[in-house]
């Protein structure tokens, strides 16, 4: 081949290479153009997401104070350990390692992860709530070794409730449910919200605004630096009307008695709740850091129903404490005067049926005050029969019975004060006059909540204003305390002064005379009250009696009170389940509460704690429930005593 030709071929082939290289580089340039311009937005977003992470900063809930500024509910710090799956390479390995590190069973960790598997991967799955310092240290050390890069330890504010006090009042907090998120658009999944009590009803005030921290993380999930931080704002602080010491006295009283029950103590002038309890209670602290399912199940399965708030959800026969409602009706309607007298031979016959007084020999001749003092059944049978069921219903309702109190707590239940309309609507049958007789002494189908009893005695104490019990006294939104307006009374009726005086005199005699409430007597305090003893067998019926022990079948005891007689500053209802006579346990509890209240108000040393003696107190004579249970007038009528619910 000629050199010329060879040179020419070489030149051609070099040109080919030149074009080839130019084309390849053009393709590369187009490739980069596609990535960096055409797909820029999408890829940029992926880049942002892969290196930025938003961490929620949980806002502490508002602190709750008592009426004197004592802290009731506060916050503490706890640690939670979570898995963030965003950068997880091998979830199984993470689960194994984390379970071994924190000392959990692998299956239980896996179960938690599975439950949250469908949530977005950047949302932490909380594995350990309220982690111990040892767990936190173990996890942190492994994180530093890059062994658990996808596990985060967060410090979260957690509620701290006072031990064994007013659990139902405070309620508890828990993770928001899907239904709640749907109902309230301000909530978002994962929020911790109040699920009961004050925490629930004032959730909007107590819940702060969660903050957020945007951080840059590297490829193994370690935080490099903070981009910006939106600090959380604490929830509003609440002041309750509760008085810590009075509350504690109530709790100690129940502890001393060893019985379950409920108590509501009010300021009868305003409706402020000074103390409120339901026993048995649960420990709200267990909910604060996430209650485990076993504990929740056992609370729900407990026969004593610790989750139910007896004070506003329990309905019980009021027994003799109902007699003041009958007295009010008779006096206000002008049917009797306080001096109206009835002779009690120990029994009486109405509509052809015998009704017993609790005192077999009878009380002899009594006026209204004495009838209240001695809780004479025959007197109130007689008066009740004269007044009639409609007026009894009207006045009992005006005094607050059989109605919701309107307290600022969720899920209050309405009691029952029967009326012909009520019965018609409920059973379709007409009212029998004989039923009025048993209603007159608080038996039959009368069934009321402890809180409505507290309102009832308050209305008598303040002369006719059915105050609305309320717990919120003031709110601090960060700019100082502002008094919360007291809710208006549910209803007001001007009771005649002589009505109020006659009833108060009767109540005074119950405690300070020959009555059944002597256990609540305090020298110089003019404590006035009324015991009540209600049969469980008659009010709950034989159906629920099966399988109960003797103790479960014992009577429920009531004590409603106001003090001092002429200018009542405190009123309340104490209900002690299965404690027998109302004077045995309910009245001493009330006495201890009153002693504490007066001592505190006057700056005196508080009374010494009650000592549980373990032995039953001597029985109090009088005020026994009617026996036998009130039978129905006609054979086809429902048993008045057996169907109340």
């Amino acid at each position: 081949m000629e050199p010329y030709e060879e040179r020419r071929r070489l030149a051609i082939r070099l040109s080919v290479l030149q074009y080839l290289v130019t084309v390849v580089f053009s393709i590369l340039a187009v490739g980069f153009w596609v990535l960096q311009v055409v797909q820029h937005a999408r890829l940029d977003e992926m880049a942002e997401n892969s290196h930025q992470r938003t961490l929620a900063l949980r806002a502490p809930r508002g602190i709750v104070f008592d009426r004197n500024g004592q802290v009731l509910v506060e916050n503490r710090h706890s640690y939670s350990i979570s898995i963030v799956r965003e950068h997880t390479k091998d979830l199984n390995r993470t689960i194994q390692l984390l379970a071994a590190t924190v000392g959990f069973r692998e299956s239980s960790v896996r179960e938690i992860v599975d439950r949250h598997r469908r949530e977005p991967v950047y949302r932490p799955i909380v594995i350990v709530q309220n982690a111990s310092l040892a767990q936190v240290a173990a996890v942190t050390a492994r994180r530093l070794d890059f062994e658990l890069p996808d596990v985060v330890v967060e410090q979260v504010p957690t509620r701290r409730y006072p031990a064994a006090m007013a659990a139902h009042l405070f309620g508890y907090v828990g993770e928001v449910s899907d239904a709640q998120v749907t109902r309230d658009t301000t909530l978002k999944s994962g929020d911790i919200v109040g699920q009961a009590g004050i925490e629930s009803i004032y959730n909007n005030l107590l819940m702060g605004d969660d903050g957020a921290r945007r951080v840059v993380v590297n490829s193994v999930g370690r935080e490099i630096r903070t981009l910006d931080e939106d600090p959380p704002s604490e929830g509003k602080r609440l002041q309750l009307t509760i008085d810590y010491d009075v509350q504690k006295a109530v709790e100690d009283g129940f502890k001393w008695s060893g019985f379950n029950g409920a108590a509501v103590i009010l300021d009868p002038r305003s409706g402020e709740v000074l103390a409120f309890t339901s026993v048995p209670a649960y420990d709200p602290n267990a909910f604060a850091s996430g209650i485990d399912r076993a504990a929740w199940a056992s609370l729900n399965a407990d026969e004593l129903r610790p989750l139910s708030d007896r004070a506003i959800q329990g309905r019980y026969s009021p027994g003799s404490t109902f007699k003041m409602a009958v007295a009010s009706a008779a006096l206000e309607e002008g049917i009797i005067t306080p001096d109206f007298k009835v002779y009690c031979p120990g029994h009486a016959t109405f509509f052809g049926r015998p009704f017993q007084c609790w005192k077999p020999g009878g009380h002899g001749t009594l006026d209204l005050r004495q009838a209240i003092e001695q809780s004479c059944n025959v007197y109130f049978y007689t008066v009740g029969n004269m007044v009639g069921i409609d007026k009894i219903h009207k006045w009992a309702t005006l005094l607050g019975l059989g109605e919701k109190s309107g307290i600022d707590l969720p899920n209050e239940v309405q009691g029952i004060v029967p009326s012909p309309e009520w019965k018609k609507a409920r059973t379709g049958e007409k009212w029998y006059a004989g039923e009025t007789i048993s209603v007159a002494i608080g038996q039959g189908q009368v069934s009321v909540t402890p809180i409505s009893m507290a309102v009832y005695i308050s209305t008598i104490a303040n002369g006719g204003t059915r105050v609305t019990p309320h717990l919120l006294k003031a709110v601090d939104d960060g700019n100082g305390w502002k008094d919360a307006p007291a809710p208006p009374p549910q209803s007001t009726v001007e009771l005649k002064p002589e009505t109020v005086k006659a009833i108060r005199d009767g109540l005074f005699l119950v405690v300070n005379g020959r009555g059944t409430g002597g256990a609540a007597r305090i020298a110089g305090r003019d404590v006035s009250g009324k015991t009540g003893t209600a049969q469980v067998i008659s009010s709950e019926g034989g159906r629920s009696a099966r399988g109960r022990t003797d103790k479960d079948l014992r009577d429920n005891g009531w004590f409603v009170f106001l003090a001092p007689r002429d200018n009542p500053q405190i009123a309340g209802a104490v209900f002690v389940e299965h404690s027998g006579h109302g004077g045995t346990y309910a009245a001493p509890i009330a006495k201890y509460v009153l002693e504490t209240f007066f001592a505190k108000r006057e700056g005196q040393p508080l009374p010494p704690p009650l000592v549980p003696n373990g032995q039953p107190l001597p029985p109090v004579a009088g005020d026994d429930p009617v026996s036998p249970p009130v039978p129905a007038l006609t054979p086809d009528a429902p048993r008045a005593a057996g169907t109340a619910r």
Binding site: V21, F25, L28, V37, H40, V217
Partner: protein, 364 residues
């Protein structure tokens, strides 16, 4: 020896473009490895040393007539084979590969120099061969290429080994090898692929190729780097995020960002604008070098330039494609920009030969 007038024939434009790319590389190495708490990045310092030494090597390759080197190419070739054998048995090993020899403070990677050695020996072989090369010539040239190729592939360093193939093909092409013969060789290579897949590739190499075909299949391992590379490049946009502002490279979402993925970091921080500048510089360097091949006074010079250039071009194109997540991840550096002393010195020495050919186009 180094006549004064030759100085005027040095292609200063090519030198300037090469130095610009080196500078760009140093800046990007600084961007990816600088530790704000510790001042100068040790990588930058090492790279600057390598550039200085590389320029020295370039000067040395310029100083002597390229025919002096091709005349001695068989000796150089044998010396390099000896080095590769030495590495295979006595070299220092890192991450499961034996590629390095410790020489004082440096660790030398003989495979980088093997590329220049093969270019020299092939230039000489085809340059002294009169007429159109036939099958025998191709077989001999293939043998000359395959010995170092096999030695390098055993290290294992498949990436560097494969670069020798385009060197052979390009020089043979320029030497006038019939297109049919080249076509047959290419076909053989394609047919050999499954055999190589079955017997020669290690598992991690197979994983890389599989994950390239479907990167989303395993977003956290092999395919992870590919997706991350695309995200890194794509998030840079038109103008980039700014020097040291790139988050993907800075936050180690890309492995060995100062090395294999340096172009991704450039794309992220300097955007398409920076990419086009760098691509333009590389294209200029390559075309300018092809110009040197055209101007060479003899075929041997042209072959030598192309031998050096083929490996360089292949490596540049492959690395940039990979940096954009458009090719399987392979441990191939970007010549002139990536961190790496041996590569820098060998590349600059190779361009010394290119400059040499152009400079001496008028000498006899």
């Amino acid at each position: 020896m180094f006549e004064r007038r030759l100085y005027y024939h040095i292609d200063w434009a090519l030198v300037a473009a090469i130095l610009a790319l080196c500078a760009l590389g140093v800046v990007m190495i600084d961007a990816t490895t600088a530790d704000p708490t510790r001042g100068n990045s040790p990588f930058v310092v090492t790279q600057l040393y390598a550039i200085v030494i590389g320029l020295g090597a370039m000067g040395f390759m310029l100083a002597l007539d390229y025919r002096t080197f091709t005349d001695k190419s068989h000796l150089i070739y044998i010396f390099l084979l000896a080095l590769l054998l030495y590495v295979m048995f006595l070299g220092s090993s890192r991450m499961g590969a034996r590629r390095w020899i410790w020489v004082g403070p440096f660790n030398l990677q003989p495979s980088e120099f093997a590329k220049v050695g093969v270019a020299l020996v092939l230039a000489k072989f085809f340059g002294e061969n009169r007429g159109t090369p036939g099958w025998t010539d191709l077989a001999i040239a293939g043998g000359l290429t395959c010995v170092p190729l096999a030695l390098i592939a055993r290290q294992p360093d498949l990436g560097t080994a494969v670069i020798l193939v385009p060197v052979l093909l390009a020089v043979a092409f320029l030497a006038g090898m019939q297109m049919r013969a080249l076509g047959v060789v290419s076909l053989c290579l394609v047919l050999a692929a499954p055999v190589v897949w079955q017997f020669a590739l290690k598992d991690y190499q197979k994983t890389r190729i599989v994950s390239f075909l479907d990167p989303s299949q395993d977003a956290k391992d092999a395919g992870y780097q590919q997706i991350q590379a695309r995200i890194t490049v794509g998030s840079g946009g038109l103008w980039g995020k700014g020097f040291k502002q790139g988050t993907q490279g800075q936050l180690r979402f890309l492995p060995v960002a100062h090395n294999d993925f340096i172009f991704s970091v450039l794309a992220e921080e300097q955007g398409l604008a920076g990419v086009l500048v760098a691509l333009g510089l590389y294209l200029f360097v390559i075309l300018r070098a092809l110009e040197a091949a055209r101007l060479a006074k003899d075929r041997l010079g042209s072959y030598l330039v192309l031998g050096v250039l083929a490996g360089f071009t292949f490596q540049v194109v492959y690395n940039i494609t990979m940096s954009a997540g458009l090719a399987p991840v392979k441990g191939l550096t970007l010549p002139l920009m990536s961190y790496g002393g041996s590569s820098m010195i060998a590349t600059l020495a190779g361009f010394g030969l290119v400059l040499n050919v152009r400079m001496r186009r008028f000498t006899n």
